[in-house]
């Protein structure tokens, strides 16, 4: 992940030093043009198209589509799902990275591999496994039905699928950083008489705060934007189990293009906010990292 690399302590001179010595201006120009052209074609043009389509019938129609009760219900559900999935993964991610980075235990490499599983598996499969476990024909299906609990085609299923898909984000950001920082500061705090809890709040957490925030932002963006896994478990019940991405798909399939693109533009705005927040955090992290560079440099050069 690009983020993991960017958060490593890179000081300004180090970054300048990366410029390829001896490369000609032609190569540079060509590479930049190629990159920009590609970005424009596959990113900027579609992005512009979303807003153009949304506003095709004026701002009023766009607003109307967003204010539609079904759309509002989708937004509410998306916010609810993110409000559960993100804190859950924040806690899980912290616990997992703490365990992996600061302790040695049997099965550590298995845990590290498992954390990456959601990235390796297609989101559709992530959804399907929950159908297989909790669905009517699934392992727990009969028991759930007997107790009148609905997981699949209901909010709990959507939350579960989202948690599954987004759980690597926080842990993946934290593990390399925590490993690099080692355990000495914690041991110092303990030797000075601090309790484990105090050590966590006053030493461990402040040291990883920017990476943690970065992970949370990415996790949130994915939680709100997840389509595949959620689509499998949601059942697409309008106004009840539709998240924003699913709602966009339904509107689009009904040839309601203005409404579809209007709601889609909400997701795009979320993406833009995410990017800005991400850049701010990266900038902050680099600032504190470059302040700490003489400390971190030792680790990097070792």
């Amino acid at each position: 992940m690009a983020g993991t690399v960017a958060l490593r302590a890179m000081t300004a001179p180090q970054r300048r030093g990366r410029a390829l010595a001896g490369s000609s201006p032609w190569t540079k120009g060509l590479l930049v043009a190629l990159t920009l052209g590609f970005l424009g074609l596959v990113l900027l043009v579609p992005l512009a198209a979303i807003f153009t389509e949304a506003l095709r019938k004026g701002v009023g129609a766009c607003m109307e589509a967003i204010a539609d009760p079904a759309a509002l219900a989708a937004v509410k559900l998306t916010l609810l799902v993110a409000a559960i999935a993100v804190p859950a993964n924040l806690v899980f991610g912290l616990a997992a990275s703490w365990a992996v980075a600061k302790f040695n235990f049997v099965g550590k490499s298995v845990l590290t591999t498992l954390i990456d599983l959601p990235f390796a598996v297609s989101p559709v499969i992530s959804g399907l496994i929950y159908v297989l476990v909790f669905g009517l024909q699934g392992w727990l299906g009969p028991w759930l039905q007997a107790h009148d609990l609905r997981v699949i085609f209901a909010v709990p299923g959507i939350v579960l699928a989202t948690v599954f898909v987004t759980f690597p984000f926080v842990a993946r950001e934290l593990i390399p950083l925590m490993q690099e920082q080692g355990q000495e500061e914690e041991q110092a705090a303990l030797s000075l008489g601090a309790s484990g809890w105090r050590t966590f709040w006053h030493v461990t957490l402040p040291n990883v705060r920017w990476a943690l925030l970065y992970g949370v932002i990415l996790c949130n963006a994915r939680a709100m934007g997840e389509f595949g896994a959620v689509s499998v478990v949601s059942g697409h019940i309008r106004g009840r189990t539709n998240t924003v991405p699913l709602h966009v798909e339904i509107l689009y399939n009904e040839y309601n293009f203005v409404a579809a693109f209007s709601v889609a533009s909400l997701l795009v705005l979320l993406a833009l906010v995410t990017l800005v927040a991400k850049s701010l955090v990266e900038w902050q992290a680099r600032r504190s990292a470059s302040l700490a560079a003489p400390l971190a440099g030792r680790v990097l050069s070792a």
């Binding site: 000495e184 500061e185 041991q187 110092a188 705090a189 303990l190 030797s191 000075l192 008489g193 601090a194 309790s195 105090r198 006053h202 030493v203 402040p206 040291n207 504190s288 302040l291 700490a292 560079a293 003489p294 400390l295 030792r298």
Partner: protein, 359 residues
């Protein structure tokens, strides 16, 4: 506060870091644990601190002032621990770092704000960093950071102070300065202190007592003078300073190398009779430009370095290999040696240890 450890064994998987180590540190002393890497010195320090625990078998004990602290975790032992790489809290200022140990005390034991401030000021003066209290650790030099780490450890008024390679990450000049400073500081505050080092010069210069470790065992323990001048094992002899090694024989208190008797005093412990490894330090040779009867090796000067308080030579001998020799500048002036000169080398003193193998 004296420290006593008894029968400490520590294994990491198949690696045995410490084998049945027992040690007593008298109250108020500054003791060096000296050894090569992998000798177990840091492990022993961490076990004393409570950052690691000894193997449950054989039964062991760690006593602070005759009180067993094995069951106490690191926070309750009242130790000040200074880490090799400082381990300062990177997001806290110098003052916050120093005050940390006082601020995290339970309310009943915590000094008031003013008292903490005074304590921090007092420690800043002690480590000679007044005026830098609002800096972050990243804005300090290595030597300054190490002093802050020391002040942070001293703030809790520890019963014992433990330092893990305290100067290991510093450059040579700062190292020398800081270790003299540590010695003066210890003379001032007299807290029982143990520090780990792989640098024999540092151990001999700073410590009241030196404990030499090798492969998880204590080889010798004593004052710097004792371990340097009366090494009990070949390892200690070799580890503390440069040596020339001869394989020879000892017979009735006399040492022979290649049939030549070493006329100098052969120090204790003499190897008894039989095969021996005979050690001579570079400064224990007498040089002459004329052949003397019997005891001298004849050789040629291969290398000569006059830059420094002593003149260092390498002499290629006919029978005893290449020897490292140190002589005073005056003697060098008297002998007038240059590269290629023929010299006769006579050991004035030697230490013999029994050979592990026969030649």
């Amino acid at each position: 506060m004296s420290i006593e450890v008894r029968n400490i064994t520590k294994t990491f998987g198949r690696f045995t870091a410490l084998r049945d180590v027992s040690l007593t540190v008298p109250s108020g002393d500054l003791v060096a644990l000296l050894g090569p890497s992998g000798s177990g010195k840091t492990t022993l320090l961490r076990i004393i601190a409570g950052l690691d625990s000894p193997d449950p078998q054989p039964p062991s004990a760690i006593l602070f002032h005759d009180q067993d602290v094995v069951g106490h975790d690191v926070g309750r032992r009242g130790v000040g621990f200074v880490f090799q790489h400082y381990a300062l809290f990177r997001h806290m200022t110098v003052a916050e770092n120093i005050a940390f140990g006082l601020r995290v005390r339970p309310r009943a034991l915590r000094p008031g704000r003013a008292a903490i401030r005074d304590k921090v000021r007092e420690l800043l003066r002690l480590i000679q960093l007044e005026g830098l209290e609002n800096r972050l650790p990243s804005e300090l030099s290595g030597g300054q950071r190490q002093r802050v780490a020391l002040a942070r450890a001293l703030a809790i008024e520890p019963r014992v102070l433990l330092l893990d390679e305290p100067f290991g990450a510093l450059d040579a000049r700062v190292r020398q300065e800081l270790r003299r400073w540590l010695r003066r500081l210890h003379d001032e505050i007299h807290v029982t202190s143990v520090f780990v080092t792989h640098d024999q010069e540092e151990a001999l210069e700073v410590a009241d007592r030196v404990v030499v470790l090798n492969a998880g065992r204590i080889e010798q323990e004593g004052t710097p003078d004792e371990v340097f001048h009366r090494p009990r094992t070949a390892f200690v002899m070799e580890f503390l300073g440069r040596v020339n090694v001869f394989h020879g024989r000892v017979d009735m208190g006399k040492a022979f190398v290649e049939g030549v008797e070493l006329k100098g005093r052969v120090g204790d412990p003499v190897a008894g009779n039989g095969h021996a490894r005979i050690f001579v330090r570079p400064h224990q040779f007498a040089l002459s430009t004329r052949a003397q009867d019997g005891a001298a090796f004849r050789g040629t000067v291969r290398y000569l370095n006059t830059a420094g308080p002593l003149v260092r030579l390498e002499v290629q001998t006919d029978v005893a290999g290449l020897l490292a020799v140190e002589i005073s500048q005056e003697e060098h002036g008297r002998l007038g040696l240059s590269q290629g000169s023929v010299v006769y080398v006579t050991p004035r003193e030697a230490q013999a240890f029994p050979s592990d193998f026969s030649i």
